[in-house]
């Protein structure tokens, strides 16, 4: 019983730690790409452990007149050509796709009208194998500071 209890604790600690690792990754890598000299972070940290072929989506409201930066990055254990697409909130009208832009990790956008958008991030399948690669994906958004 004692062993079982210890193993449960180890398992629980591992679960929390893997979640925390992705959040730390978002803070470390995502914020670096955001360039905090010019941008302030907006919205919460969005980070998730993904495997090849998996996708996450994020709804985000943008205000007219503000300049936004979207940063999407994946940990080194994932393929580096992580795809991201920003569309209207229905997922129909594409505003930006990094597939057409050399898989860049950063996109700057100043909306002409206030709007709600949907950000879709997908880890591509590089080669089909029994054990797909898994790692952290982080999405960080920021808005430009006044006068920058």
């Amino acid at each position: 019983m004692k062993h079982l209890f210890l193993l449960i604790i180890v398992f629980a600690a591992f679960s929390v730690n893997s979640f925390s690792q992705c959040s730390d990754f978002a803070r470390r890598e995502g914020i670096a790409l955001l360039d905090t000299a010019k941008y302030l972070q907006s919205g919460n940290f969005n980070a998730e452990k993904l495997s090849e072929g998996e996708e996450i989506q994020i709804f985000k409201s943008l205000t007219k007149g503000m300049s936004y930066r979207f940063v999407i990055c994946g940990s080194s254990d994932l393929p580096q050509n992580i795809e991201f697409e920003i569309t209207d909130f229905k997922g129909k009208k594409i505003l930006f796709s990094n597939k057409e832009n050399n898989y860049v990790k950063v996109w700057d956008f100043t909306p002409e009208k206030s709007q709600r958008v949907l950000v879709s991030i997908r880890v591509p399948v590089v080669k089909k194998s029994e054990k797909p690669q898994t790692g952290c994906v982080a999405v960080v958004t920021g808005f430009k500071k006044k006068g920058k």
């Binding site: 019983m1 062993h3 079982l4 193993l7 449960i8 398992f11 929390v16 979640f19 925390s20 959040s23 803070r27 905090t36 302030l40 972070q41 907006s42 919205g43 919460n44 940290f45 969005n46 998730e48 993904l50 998996e54 996708e55 996450i56 989506q57 994020i58 709804f59 985000k60 409201s61 205000t63 007149g65 503000m66 569309t87 909130f89 229905k90 997922g91 129909k92 206030s114 709007q115 709600r116 949907l118 879709s120 999405v139 958004t141 808005f143 500071k145 006044k146």
Partner: protein, 283 residues
């Protein structure tokens, strides 16, 4: 005998893992389907089986931080008016997770507002109020004494202060999520969102020549409210969260009346509702 016991323990361990995995899987599936079904769209004609909702492993709702909304108010040319804020002296009045989480969000919004307008002493006071509530919620790691020291030593550097303030709000939120207290994080987001809307409404009313830009920005908060509702729906089973959903749905019904145009009657209705709800949070 010892080996048998070990085998039983290992078996029990894997049973627990299997059960936990099933539970996590169920939770994830539920949260995904909840996001799919309950995500409210501005356009009622949206088909919920759209490609956009069909294949994601997880759906997030990213709300504007209070610093962003405060910057929008500053850009609109509105003057600093601290009389609408919740006094930092009230921090010790809040007891219980819901009240503390809501008011941590409210004080974070006030903190963002005063720091955007470069009010040094008020910034320190609101950061102290945030710290008091963070301590109450046992998230001291997110707002510790070093944050206050950093604020004090960068008093004359607006950019640095804004970065610290913004990071503090987001770190508190991330810390709660990392520690499986996402409901508390969601309640904190409601407090922050509501306070910024409350400040904007009061500033708009105070403004002699009604600032059309500000009115538009207020009505546009319906979009971020949809995100907030989407976030809250994930924790609907929680009684405290479900009471906040009721507040949001109450506001939503008024927002919907302004889909086509902003009538003064409906705008006033929105302002009255926001004041009433916010008042119930800070009491």
């Amino acid at each position: 005998m010892k080996n048998k016991s070990l085998i039983i323990n290992v078996f029990s361990f894997f049973s627990v893992i299997m059960l936990s995995s099933l539970f996590l899987f169920q939770t994830r599936c539920n949260s995904n389907s909840s996001s799919k079904n309950d995500t409210v769209n501005l356009d009622k004609s949206v088909n919920k089986t759209d490609k956009a909702y069909a294949k994601a492993k997880k759906i997030f709702f990213s709300l504007p931080s209070p610093s962003e909304t405060a910057s929008i108010l500053e850009m609109a040319g509105l003057k600093y008016s601290p009389e609408f804020l919740n006094s930092p002296n009230n921090a010790s009045n809040y007891i219980g997770n819901k009240s503390m989480a809501l008011n941590l969000g409210i004080f974070s919004a006030d903190l963002s507002y005063v720091s955007v307008y470069e009010q040094s002493q008020a910034t320190v006071n609101y950061m102290s109020a945030c710290k008091e509530l963070a301590d109450g919620l046992h998230i001291t790691q997110a707002i510790d004494d070093s944050v206050l020291i950093k604020i004090k030593s960068n008093m004359n550097n607006k950019e640095k202060v804004l970065t610290i303030v913004s990071e503090t709000f987001l770190n508190s939120n991330a810390y709660l999520q990392e520690n499986q207290r996402s409901e508390i994080a969601a309640m904190m987001m409601v407090g922050g969102w509501m306070e910024m809307l409350y400040i904007a409404i009061n500033l708009s009313e105070k403004s002699k020549n009604k600032n059309e830009d500000v009115m538009n920005r207020i009505v546009e908060q319906r979009m971020s409210m949809e995100d907030l509702l989407g976030l809250l729906e994930l924790y609907r089973e929680n009684k405290e969260v479900s009471s906040l959903i009721a507040d949001m749905e109450n506001l939503k019904s008024t927002f919907e009346k302004m889909d086509e145009s902003i009538s003064p009657v409906h705008f006033k209705e929105l302002c009255d509702k926001v004041k009433k709800i916010r008042s119930s949070y800070v009491q």
